[in-house]
Symmetry: C2
Subunit: 240 residues, 2 copies
Amino acid sequence: MTEEEWTIPDVAVAVDLAVLTVRAEQLQILLVERGIEPFRGALALPGGFLASAREDIDGAAVRELAEETGLAAEDLHLEQLRTYGTPDRDPRRRVITVCYLAVVPNLPVPRAGGDADVARWVPVAEALDGPLAFDHSRIISDAVERARGKLEYTTLATAFCPAEFTVTELRRVYEIVWGEQLEPRNFHRKVTGADGFLVPTGEKTLRQGGRPAELYRRGPASLLHPALLRSRASSLEVTA
Amino acid sequence: MTEEEWTIPDVAVAVDLAVLTVRAEQLQILLVERGIEPFRGALALPGGFLASAREDIDGAAVRELAEETGLAAEDLHLEQLRTYGTPDRDPRRRVITVCYLAVVPNLPVPRAGGDADVARWVPVAEALDGPLAFDHSRIISDAVERARGKLEYTTLATAFCPAEFTVTELRRVYEIVWGEQLEPRNFHRKVTGADGFLVPTGEKTLRQGGRPAELYRRGPASLLHPALLRSRASSLEVTA
DNA sequence: CGAGTTTCCGTCAATCTGACGGATAGTGGG
DNA sequence: CCCACTATCCGTCAGATTGACGGAAACTCG
């Protein structure tokens, strides 16, 4: 510990977003094609450096999300995921990335931020196959795992759904994110029984052939009681 | 987005530790008394800035932990908690703090780091009452909440215990961290039944009056199946 | 050897879970 | 108008899990 001559190292702080949604019966993530080196042309998570030394980190995440998707932070889920700080991430200078997880419903994708690098939805399975910039492959894994876990004991699943949705739509979210079939009738019993999870609107869908489904809105609860646990096998599959 | 004249802001990155243990039948946290401004004299989480621009963030956490407690990272739990980055945390310059949660057993506390500011154990309840430096009060709340939650569905509780421990000791960990009484016989049945949670050593305690308790070691599992859920009331108490 | 203490095994009712039969309420075709 | 067809939703029922508690086992101490 030599006190002399030591100065606090300067670090560049980036804020990246892992934005998840369910589209076309698949779990998808928002990615951009990088326009500059390093990793020019590779797919990467949307994000960027702090706009100024005074910008709040959470605020930067909200700003990036608006820039990339046009979505405001009000009616979507946004939480900090983790900070990634291995020294050799960027050859230019020391960079650490504070990563956020966002969960958005399918429908509203204007995505006209005015940014040059257009973001697009990529199925997670596909994204994890191909090469990604930096350590973004690992970040995506972490984001998906966080989402999978939170479906169990929080009401996060409703963030994948539009404002009004049916029990079947909600079940599809669970099935797609977990990659696991769920028994429709038991699922129905559990989610309608959980305190504050769903609020019936009284409305019904008039859609396709079949009995019209009742429409629900998100309830006030954020924690799920009782929890909705996935199968043992499904939980372990990640660690492997 | 004016491209001209803009440069990536320089930020100072600190790594702070929330080190939890169970001592004297209380959940306690390791704190230091600050020797310098700002918040001179106030209690704060141990931590410091990156040692160099090349130091890994996780590595810095391990280093800090060794400096403050003398503990090596091998047989203890260390995970990233969250990054705190509000702009006005430090009047001197822009600082963001990557915070780690460590869980250590009671016994081994040499805590001879050679650092001038000696760290000491403070009961969490007491720490949250008194004034703390920066936003450390909030960080401690987050750390405790993370630990409480993880006791439910991971094997984190064993990190509070020495290498060999009894079921009763393990139960005390749950009771103290959750602040909730548990039924001893049902607890025994559950933890001994959970796959890979506990491995019997065959040894028994010879201690105090009463039937000798069997000794266990940590099992290979990190996820708890089936989970050990706290009561509804206990879970909600945090949100309030 | 008995009282005290702590660990651990067993029981039993209430609850929860998974699996499934079948009624309900729409659509579209003849 | 009646009959498939489809999808939602309600009910049942056996098996597993949970919470609550009685009581035996295994030690110490006096």
